[in-house]
Symmetry: C2
Subunit: 337 residues, 2 copies
Amino acid sequence: MNLLKIKKIVENIFKNFKLKNTDAKISAEYLIKAELLGAPSHGLARLKMYCDRLSRKIINPNPKIKIKKISQSISHIDANNSIGFVAADIGIKVAIKNAKKTGIGLVAIKNSGHYGLSCFYAEQAVKKNLIVLCFTNAPPAIAPYGAKKSLFGTNPICFGAPTGNKIPFIFDTSVSMINRGKIRVAAKLGHKIPLGVALDKFGKPTSNAKKALKGVQLPIAGFKGSGLAWMVDIMSGVLTGANHAGKVKDPFDDFTGSQNVGHLFLVLKPNLFVGKNYIKRIKENIRTIKKLPKIKGVNEILYPGQGMKSRYKKNLKKGIVISKNILEEIKKLNVIK
Amino acid sequence: MNLLKIKKIVENIFKNFKLKNTDAKISAEYLIKAELLGAPSHGLARLKMYCDRLSRKIINPNPKIKIKKISQSISHIDANNSIGFVAADIGIKVAIKNAKKTGIGLVAIKNSGHYGLSCFYAEQAVKKNLIVLCFTNAPPAIAPYGAKKSLFGTNPICFGAPTGNKIPFIFDTSVSMINRGKIRVAAKLGHKIPLGVALDKFGKPTSNAKKALKGVQLPIAGFKGSGLAWMVDIMSGVLTGANHAGKVKDPFDDFTGSQNVGHLFLVLKPNLFVGKNYIKRIKENIRTIKKLPKIKGVNEILYPGQGMKSRYKKNLKKGIVISKNILEEIKKLNVIK
């Protein structure tokens, strides 16, 4: 489908659900960007959910977002239950500004919502020639090590660094074996998921996506993944003033109130310690790694962000494929209100 | 063996190898602490290696460690090839001071060496009621995703947070399936390692520790672990001015020069955004997670740091067991020079 056309439709839907023009535009752009990046789980499959929450006012369509300056480097944002995209977009811009001024910028955000992909925000910092770490928590999806009930979200860790060429280094990973959004899309489309990435509600391995959604996702590497998820929950939840310890609401299933997701952005100047040599150093780093002997079937060792970028370019050319289910949803949303 | 006695012997050995009194004391303390924490791979098994490097002056016994203040929050340390313990110990203290003053402290260290366990330094920050992240790189041990040659170190990620009780939250994990030191100890003692954690030099799975040391360790979770290792190499190597991209020398095998390991410490006040509520929030976080239903065979869900602390207490009571090989090494070192 024509990209500009679909983006315009999504933007209009958001406006009809009372988002301000600029907020509707940002939100539509990020949903389409997720599709282009090959992450449909964070794309149009979420549009109806956002609209449902907007119409019930548990996403605040007209938030008063407060930015509190704690120091030249540190800011705290109360997003007043805005749609996550808007709060995070403001947050990363403040973190970038703080880092440009003092070398280091730290921004914590509370009362926000699901913000799409961390790489949206990391990319902004890297494009301004900065190093970035993004943390966000999410509704319960994976069980802490030793527990048989899910509590941690898939709690992504995202790291970005300028590379001196057009494609930034952006590593954006959940700490679960599989992205929850992927299971959700599989459930919607009736597809199977691989065995070993999730358990059903009785604690048994399952390849049924619907059963997995009611069960528990598995963290990467047992206690290591569980520890990383816990770290992200402390950084983005406990520290920021947002919900934590499993209290972030599932945006698809729980309409009893706002999510109160937390985000934490840390931004650094890459030249703090090595000056102008940074670009030479990172280029040498990547070049050295790319030159390593490869395993069978691998033509090139890609750095994180390269695969994403090539998927983006390819999809930009050929357009995005929207499943029938989701197209139906969009059509319905476009006539409502 | 009596702890005080062995610590004194190790301290004297370090002094005989020309370390200053205070540096010998710190280094001996950290080696014994690793033993007490149940990480013998980072303990006395390394003493001979440190002495060998000291006697060849590729660890500088009398370094001029330079601390450059970049801002109230940020400092850069050139460790002048000191023994890693000493540089890192100074580094964390500077990071703590910076954070106490401005809310956030960032310290980068170059020209350092292997510093033992990250938790040594994280613990110091947490004891001062601060949040901490520690990164360090290490000699080649694991292969980047797609490569069949090792390049990244086991590159640990360490995160610490005050809990409001005596046992701090300290999550200290390598991004490899198994700690390289554990393989080294297994090789020394002739033990096997589990299958699936390492490949031999021909790229085949092996349970032979000696073959694994010549081969490649596997990262956790494929490209996810590989990406985390790459992130740590950029943060602690590329940014700091230390070696990176596989150039950190193996302290056991490569005596052609100093290691030039890099470390990066980030320290934050936990009350920046939630004030005095932090302790209430973290306690609630831990309490909620501990209350989850447990899988069969688990009596209590432990937070990272609890297991370590109980091993420490147990070992402190019963003393540490030193293998015959290592005892021989210590005896020899104690009469040399």
